[in-house]
Amino acid sequence: MTDRTSKIGTIADAVALIPDGTRLAIGGFAIYQHPMAVVRELIRAGRKDLTVVGTVNGNEVDLLAGAGCLAKVETSYVGLEKFGLAPNFRRAIERGTLEVVDYSEILSFDRFRASQENLSFWPCDYLGGTDVLTHNKDIKPFTCPLTGRAMHAVPPADPDVVVIHAVAADRHGNVILPQRHLLPQSLDVIMARGCDTVIVTAETIVSDAEIRRHAAQVQIPSYKTTLVVEAPWGAHPCSVLGRYRADDAHFAEYIAASASADGFQRYIDRYVHGPADHMAYLALVGIKQLTSLTEIDRL
């Protein structure tokens, strides 16, 4: 009998799966639960020409946009919620150095459902009159084969790689969704089910027995997962529901720094290029600050 294969790797292993030019989907929602440890490592590694395909994006795209890693973003939203517009994303768009392809929010979800179902398009009948149609040339008109109604074909998300941050996973790649969760967390699941290369960073790697005790919550089974990385506080400064709150002070510092390109450069020099890796980043933020964010919930 041979042992079951471990899919455990490092954040560097994750980034090695995401070469320049990758079409990348990043888990999380707005400024919540993004796999920030991987995002920072992408910047350290100097990745270029990435396309981010998303649903509701936030600081993860803003950071990559500011660092010059992006060629294109396809999404319904890039913003920082209560912290306002995404300053670096905004600057890149206004300067014309970044392309954005706009979708409505529901269609941005549906595009990942199309990928999950291997559909070459998702049908839609309600975009008439919007400037989504004016500017998004990837969406094509067609006629319903049964009713003759005018419709639009929306392209699937089809990411090359999906990277998400989870609360818990096992070494084989089984990923747990917490029992008590909100809607955004389920979008990570849809993303992961529609891609052949799925990277999961997790707050904790749990035992096989723990997985079996939570079998009803294993929403991403092992065979869907390519790589599992243990990354405690891996979403910082974003929150992870049931584990820690958002680091509002860090966000405020980020916003203030991002008022200018120079200020942003000083921010990434300090928080991205300064620390050699994720653990060094956490040490820089400091245990006192991190633990002050703690939330308690069961799986």
Partner: protein, 278 residues
């Protein structure tokens, strides 16, 4: 008078006047959808007044109305809140008692079937036919300001039965002749124009501001001044839009009754979590 006193004889605030008028416009059995907008006036107009209005309607004439908060919580027990949830992904929202929780998409509310009777949204620009813009100011390819993106606006303005566009500030730059990007579609060419675009459902009903309520002549597809809030004037309105039309008259926005104010202050929002402490 202390911060906390809420005598029904106190004059109603603008927020209370708007809330009561919204509440009266909801029908029993409808499903109303509001996002979770955070921060100051945006939160008040985008989330708190809609929630208070739906709660008030439930307490008055619409006991079967369903409140959908953040597309997730069905009929949340708002009176149990000590503070509004901070975001669509925080523990306050998760822990808010309610009747049903939509933990995956697609879920309980079939948005494309038209389950949602009315919704609330906002934008940086609204124009004279009711289009709403959340994407950019200036040219799309080289914008003066890049905003957040279309988000759920296309759905709000077509899949929902009707839309209340909630504008927390009434400034000239927000009320334009033609938006720079149509995120959500109003009535270009009137109802006939919408039908030509394949839109057989929904559209903006009111545009609500701190000064007034606009509605639409849906046949011709033109914004109208429906009523002016107590304390605002016609010139206040006409000076603060660029619709390319001038409003000559309008009624005053109807005031709450004593019963409505009492319910709002003492039943719907006894802690002032939604509309603030008076």
């Amino acid at each position: 008078m202390s911060d906390h006193s809420k005598s029904p004889t106190d004059a109603p605030s603008i927020a209370e006047i708007i809330t009561v008028n919204l509440a009266r416009s909801f029908k029993n059995g409808e499903v109303g959808f509001t996002g979770l907008v955070t921060g100051g006036a945006a939160a008040l107009y985008g989330t708190s007044m809609p929630l208070a209005a739906m709660s008030l309607a439930q307490a008055m004439h619409a006991p079967d109305l369903t409140i959908l908060l953040a597309g997730w919580s069905h009929n949340p027990d708002l009176r149990s809140l000590d503070v509004m949830p901070d975001s669509e992904f925080d523990a306050v929202l998760r822990d808010l008692p309610c009747e049903a929780q939509m933990i995956s998409y697609p879920g309980q509310w079939a948005i494309k079937r038209g389950d949602i009777d009315f919704g609330f949204s906002s934008g940086v620009q609204v124009d004279a036919v009711g289009n709403v813009n959340t994407v950019c100011v200036g040219d799309y390819r080289k914008p003066k300001v890049r905003l957040v993106g279309p988000i759920l606006l296309p759905e709000h303005m077509t899949l929902f039965g009707r839309e209340y566009v909630m504008m927390p500030h009434h400034a000239r730059r927000n009320f334009v002749r033609r938006v720079d990007y149509v995120s959500g579609v109003g009535y270009p060419g009137g109802m006939e124009g919408r039908a030509k675009l394949g839109l057989t459902h929904g559209g903006p009903e009111w545009v609500v501001t701190p000064k007034c309520i606009f509605d639409f002549d849906k046949r011709v597809g033109s914004i109208r001044l429906k009523s002016i809030h107590h304390g605002a004037s016609l010139s206040d309105i006409n000076e603060n839009h660029d619709f390319g039309l001038t409003f000559a008259q309008a009624e005053t926005t109807p005031m709450p009754t004593a019963e409505e104010l009492d319910l709002l202050r003492n039943h719907v929002d006894p802690k002032g979590v939604l509309l603030g402490r008076r």
